[in-house]
């Protein structure tokens, strides 16, 4: 193969040069507008050729070191967890087209209409509930923008407050489980996704809490930011409302427990919960659980009848009904994962079924709606899949060339302060997040960054709280990364939340105004991020 010898200069013997060529190549290809997935895929080939030289790479048709690439692609194509991505997207697409979100908003608004800043807080609460239903953003910001923004502007809410609330809360979708960002992080780094989800609950709620606290405090200091609506004549007052709320909760709990009780009875009748044939007891399904379950049902009936009263309960149920569907969806998705019924992938599938069935009950589903959702699902999946293919190939090639180990060793050997390295990484994430989609960052940067983090001395991570266990470092870093990406959804110039909101906001609201509205909320996100960085224990509190 004399022809190939002409190219033998392409072989690069040391990893340092290879890494630099790779980095420069990536910059150039992205700058000329090459799609991220293809740029990575091509560079994967380039890395193999540099590592082994063109003569070895192309000596025999049909085999050789280039086979690593298709191996890596094949591993992703047959990755069971990756199936959850199209399913979660499908579920979110169906959810968008149902009126579940609108009814939930109406219900929440009923309870909080007399609170100062009520609609803003309702918006945040609603965003948290929607975040627990699905794991992607975009649709969430659009829905909130269509439902809550007109209300807030009509009531004379401060525009910046309204905009910031909607977009910052709407971005929570990828912070509160299930989260598509954490799924990808788990895929790339081979971390338990269930553990990542558990770990991100608390940080997610901290961020949501910060947002709500901010709204609460600012509207208390300056009430003109959030004028109260006129009281509706038949709107019940404080205590009465509280009683109705108890009535609603009691009725809902009654329904849930009745279903559980029914299952226990059925299992008992069919003999499936016989302790002798089971390896471990079924949760909430054994004969010994019956007294508690029956007692609970009786207690709820007593509360409804005697504490709250029949009429108030009925009114409360009417006011709160819009919350039932979202809670069912959350119960199906997160319940499937945490009750140990299914894994992430099947939970996503069950979520699709739940949303579909609710939609059928609400008479909102048709062939067109489902088909349209499928088209959107496939389009988004295709976009993500290209980056996955490209990055998987590149990561495999670069690992084969010894890249990540080399970089990790170099940084660890440089003896830099541990938190200095972490902070630098945070800054890199924030800057990259301004220009690049999260999926590109997680797929391309994580294979390099995480090995470095794992090599850092674990006792030097953070300033407060107990030291992480070594096995928790990857989980902590994933949650920190996820929080970082929260900022990227809002950060100018390309923060996607701004563009989603712009597409549904009244025409007079400009992009600049939208980004200005984000500023305090970006600060809140950065506060939450610094909390996680200096106090890593926050992430692990819920882990066992």
């Amino acid at each position: 193969m004399e022809f190939l010898e002409l190219f033998s200069w392409m072989k690069v013997s040391d990893v340092a040069t290879l890494s630099i060529v790779l980095l420069i190549g990536m910059f150039i290809l992205l700058a000329i507008g090459m799609p991220l997935g293809f740029a990575s895929a091509f560079l994967a080939v380039a890395v193999i050729v540099m590592k082994f030289g063109p003569e070895i790479s192309f000596r025999n048709f049909g085999s050789g070191p280039l086979s690593v690439l298709a191996q890596a692609v094949y591993r992703q194509m047959t990755n069971y967890v990756l199936i959850s991505i199209p399913l979660f997207i499908f579920m979110a697409a169906l959810l968008e087209r149902s009126g579940i979100a609108r009814d939930m908003y109406n219900s929440l608004n009923m309870w909080l209409s007399r609170t100062r800043g009520g609609i803003a807080i309702v918006t945040s609460l609603m965003a948290v509930i929607m975040a627990a239903m699905s794991g992607i953003i975009g649709g969430e910001v659009v829905l909130l923008g269509l439902i809550a923004l007109p209300q807030m502007l009509r009531l004379g809410y401060n525009q910046n407050l309204a905009i910031g609330t909607i977009c910052a809360s709407g971005s929570l979708g990828t912070m509160i489980p299930p989260s598509i960002v954490l799924i990808f992080y788990g895929l790339v780094t081979e971390t338990s996704i269930k553990a990542l989800f558990t770990a991100s609950f608390l940080p997610g709620f901290i961020l949501a809490g910060l947002i709500m606290l901010y709204i609460f405090i600012r509207t208390r200091i300056n009430p003109s930011l959030a004028p109260l609506p006129e009281a509706a004549p038949d709107d019940p007052e404080g205590l009465e409302k509280g009683l109705r709320f108890i009535g609603f909760v009691a009725k809902f709990a009654l329904y849930v427990m009745s279903v559980v009780l029914l299952r226990t009875v059925l299992l008992t009748i069919t003999g499936q919960n016989n302790p002798e044939i089971l390896d471990e007891p079924l949760r909430w399904g054994m004969v010994s659980d019956l007294p508690f379950q029956i007692g609970f049902v009786v207690a709820m009936v007593v509360i409804m009848r005697f504490l709250v009263g029949k009429e108030r309960t009925a009114e409360g149920w009417e006011m709160g009904r819009g919350l039932v569907a979202p809670i069912i969806v959350i119960g199906v998705v997160l319940g499937s994962i945490y009750m140990g019924i299914t894994g992430i992938t099947e939970a996503a599938g069950m979520g699709v079924i739940a949303v579909f069935v609710l939609g059928v009950i609400r008479r909102e589903m048709s062939f067109e709606v489902v088909w349209d959702a499928l088209v959107r699902t496939l389009k988004s999946t295709g976009t993500i899949i290209w980056v996955t293919i490209g990055a998987a190939a590149l990561a495999a090639a670069y690992t084969l060339a010894g890249g990540p180990t080399y970089v990790a060793n170099m940084i660890v050997a440089a003896d830099l302060p541990t938190m200095g390295i972490i902070l630098t990484m945070m800054v890199i994430f924030l800057i990259m997040g301004m220009f690049m989609d999260w999926v590109g960052i997680v797929l391309l940067i994580m294979p390099v960054f995480l090995p470095i983090v794992l090599k850092l001395p674990v006792e030097e991570l953070g300033y407060f709280g107990a030291t992480l266990e070594p096995r928790q470092v990857a989980i902590w870093f994933g949650v920190v990364f996820c929080m970082n990406m929260q900022v990227s959804f809002l950060s100018p110039p390309f923060g996607p939340a701004a563009f989603y909101l712009k597409s549904v906001a009244p025409a007079h609201i400009t992009l600049t105004q939208i980004f200005r509205g984000f500023l305090p909320f970006i600060c809140l996100q950065l506060i939450a991020l610094s909390l996680l960085v200096v106090w890593p224990e926050l992430v692990t509190l819920l882990l066992d």
Partner: protein, 268 residues
């Protein structure tokens, strides 16, 4: 959904009829198999479904399933949703057909998972095949989605510098991109042809109880579809050659039609 035909033209109605007959026959055949399982000695389950040798009923069933998939995909590719744009390149139709197959497979995957969860949780009788069947279907969903995304040009790109370039430079950049994609496809085939061929001829299986030939099918499929994607890239390049210089903003990614639909849902 619009009713006018995209590419089938006068064939639209015949294809529709063919699709309906395939669906009907598939359902009938499914019923026949269920009934024959009750009376016949030989049980035909999902395990037998991927082993048609010596089982004519399975052969017929597989043929009908394939026919249903093919005709439905072709029929459904005859209309495009508003977000998909009008196909212009010479290769677009094929990509649309495979995208329809992937959409059907996505819905099927959900159903298979539901079936599995119901059997496992309510009847404590998990299947041996549902996970692997989902995996098998999903690999094709991903590959087809890749080809579809190529046809739709829905890629993650950074336009900051690209938009500043004059049109001739943009064209040069597009040509380079396209060339590099072809080179990637070439390298992938170069490095894996022998391996894929070996697995395909052996019909390498997954090594589980149901034992579907996932490596034997998916490995060659990856190479084939990467080549198709490269052809699609050339098709895109030709179709976009004479377009005016474009500038991009993240607003382009937002689908106004979708927002209209959500708005209508909310106003109901």
């Amino acid at each position: 959904m619009k009713t006018h035909s995209l590419w089938l033209g006068s064939l639209r109605q015949p294809v529709r009829k063919l699709m309906i007959s395939f669906i009907t026959l598939t359902v009938v055949m499914f019923g026949v198999i269920l009934v024959s399982n009750l009376f016949s000695e030989e049980f035909l389950g999902v395990h037998e479904m991927i082993r048609p040798e010596g089982r004519p009923m399975v052969g017929i069933m597989l043929f009908l399933l394939a026919g249903t998939m093919l005709t439905s995909s072709i029929y459904l590719s005859d209309t495009v949703e508003s977000i998909e744009g009008h196909p212009q390149g010479f290769f677009d139709i094929l990509s649309l057909v495979v995208s329809r197959a992937a959409m059907i497979l996505t819905a099927l995957t959900v159903l298979v998972m539901f079936y599995e969860v119901v059997l496992r949780y309510l009847f404590s009788a998990p299947t041996l095949w549902a996970n692997e069947l989902s995996l098998w279907m999903a690999s094709f969903i991903f590959l087809f989605a890749g080809q579809y995304a190529m046809q739709q040009r829905s890629h993650i790109r950074i336009y900051v510098i690209y938009d500043l370039m004059p049109r001739w430079m943009q064209k040069a950049a597009d040509v380079l991109s396209c060339f590099l994609i072809i080179f990637f496809a070439f390298a992938l085939v170069w490095g894996n042809y022998a391996d894929a061929l070996r697995r395909f001829t052996r019909m390498e299986t997954f090594g589980t109880a149901w034992d579907p030939p996932i490596p034997g099918i998916v490995k060659p499929a990856i190479l084939i579809i990467i080549v198709l994607v490269a052809i699609q890239a050339v098709s895109n390049l030709i179709a976009d050659w004479n377009k005016a210089p474009e500038s991009h903003s993240p607003m382009d990614d937002i689908d106004q039609e979708e927002i209209e639909q959500i708005r209508r849902t909310l106003e109901k």
